[in-house]
């Protein structure tokens, strides 16, 4: 299609068209409408924590792909990994591989892939107002058999709405449009707390699935109706699920996935999780500047690449002699538990931490903080 024809077509559809019709027409013309995907790392390109994690299912947490939380309590077990099996237009996907079946599901069991979106990022939804907008979730999925799972949106106040979707053995795009929520109770405080949770349910016990039917409008639903009709990912160790291209956007049309550069994607993820130093990348990575505070303590600091969402957790991999302070040829080798922080002196832009369990440090002496081994790893997490 030539540019002239595109503009002409655009002029035609804009007359009397609804916003969504115009949006759909613009999308059909291939015109980039800028930022429209509220999901971060929807194309599963960023995996700062790990490319693969095994034995998942017993505890909730972030294990592999950035921003994707495994929210779970089940006796089933699975491996979660970043896969190169992806639909056309994508290079990566998230793969779930069932390794321990759970064919007798207890009432309260559940397994969910979750992404929490900050409330200050969902203002375009206008939730809780007369101008509230429909929103559309789209993604690509593939499995090992025909199955049905549940996609749910839930706001910070617990108002939710679910829709089932089908998975086949081929990559298929799922498009689910959710109605506007004009109820005043849906109006969030636009801050750094969770405004919307996107849930992909792959297992739900009767507590969440034993009801009569999934409702069709937003409300604080009966738990039992949230996942009516869902299949069980843990029905067999043959089960697999691939997912990528996850997009949540305002409007009733699932537009093409908004591809961002890897650097943009990574920076967006680093607001929630940032690696300070990774021995797997550089075994003697110099990660900070320190100064002697007293004979057995060096304080060090590091400026973040991205402002953190909120007060962060410092994570230091347990590695014997994995971290040291260096001053010319002098090294201080504390135990791995010697890196820590005091919460009250932190900011969202940098960390001020300490190294203890050392001796012979001169006050105000200068030190370079350094990793000492491939398994040494320091990160901060400010996930929702």
């Amino acid at each position: 299609m030539s540019r002239a024809l595109s503009i002409s077509a655009l002029n035609t559809v804009e007359v009397g068209a609804t916003a969504d019709q115009t949006k759909a027409d613009i999308d059909s013309l291939g015109i980039n409408r800028g930022r429209n995907n509220l999901i971060i790392n929807g194309n599963m390109n960023v995996a700062q924590r790990a490319n693969s994690a095994t034995g998942l299912g017993s505890a909730t947490g972030y294990f592999t792909l950035d921003r994707w939380n495994v929210t779970t309590s089940t006796t089933g077990r699975f491996t979660m990994s970043q896969s190169t099996d992806a639909p056309i237009g994508f290079s990566k996907s998230m793969k779930l591989d069932c390794t321990t079946a759970d064919t007798s599901i207890a009432a309260g069991e559940y397994s969910i892939l979750t992404q929490a979106i900050e409330a200050q990022n969902i203002q375009g939804m206008a939730r809780g107002t007369s101008g509230a907008k429909e929103v559309t979730v789209s993604f690509y999925v593939k499995g090992n058999a025909s199955t049905t799972y549940v996609c749910e949106l839930q706001d910070g106040g617990g108002r939710e709405l679910s829709k089932t979707f089908n998975v086949t053995t081929a990559w298929e795009k799922v498009e689910l449009t959710f109605p506007a929520d004009t109820n005043a109770a849906a109006a969030p405080t636009y801050d750094n707390t969770a405004g919307i949770y996107l849930y992909i349910w792959v297992q739900a016990g009767s507590t969440f699935s034993g009801g009569s039917a999934i409702p069709t409008s937003w409300a604080n639903q009966s738990n039992a109706n949230r996942c009516v009709g869902i299949d069980n990912f843990f029905s067999s160790t043959s089960n697999e699920l691939y997912i990528t291209g996850v997009q949540l956007e305002v409007g009733s049309v699932a537009t093409d996935f908004e591809h961002r550069s890897y650097a943009e994607n990574l920076l967006a993820c680093q607001r929630y999780y940032e690696i300070i130093a990774d021995g797997g990348y550089d075994v003697d990575h110099m990660f900070g500047i320190g100064h002697g505070v007293k004979s057995d303590q060096i304080n060090w600091f590091y400026d973040f690449k991205a402002e953190k969402r909120a007060a962060f957790t410092l994570i230091v991999a347990s590695v014997s002699n994995g971290y040291h302070a260096k001053n010319h040829s002098v090294y201080k080798h504390p135990s791995n538990t010697s890196l820590g922080m005091t919460a009250t002196v932190q900011s969202l832009h940098s960390i001020s931490a300490y190294m203890t369990s050392i001796s012979g440090v001169t006050e105000q002496s200068a030190w370079t903080m350094q990793l000492n081994g491939a398994a040494a790893h320091i990160a901060v997490s400010a996930e929702i």
């Binding site: 707390t193 957790t313 994570i315 820590g340 922080m341």
Partner: protein, 101 residues
Amino acid sequence: MKIETVKMESDCYRVNGTMIVPPSTDNADYFFVQEWLAAGNTPTPQYTDAQIAATAQAELNVTSRSYLASTDWYASRKSDTGEAIPAEVITARAAARESIV
């Protein structure tokens, strides 16, 4: 998050030995710590009684040695001139020597 151990450290919680979690309701990990505490669990204190005692003794050693050093001149004066060391200084120096371990 599966919590196995929690130890107090500075004003934070060291969880499972590798995570230093601030006591902030904005922090998602602190939510799990609160759940763990609400279940009746108690964090390990940052220092054991023995460590606290050892630290206190070390500080006392420094103080006592400093006092002895600062009053050594009484002994030198007595040696040089024969002038007696005041009784209260003798008592205090003896106590200082006793306190050093």
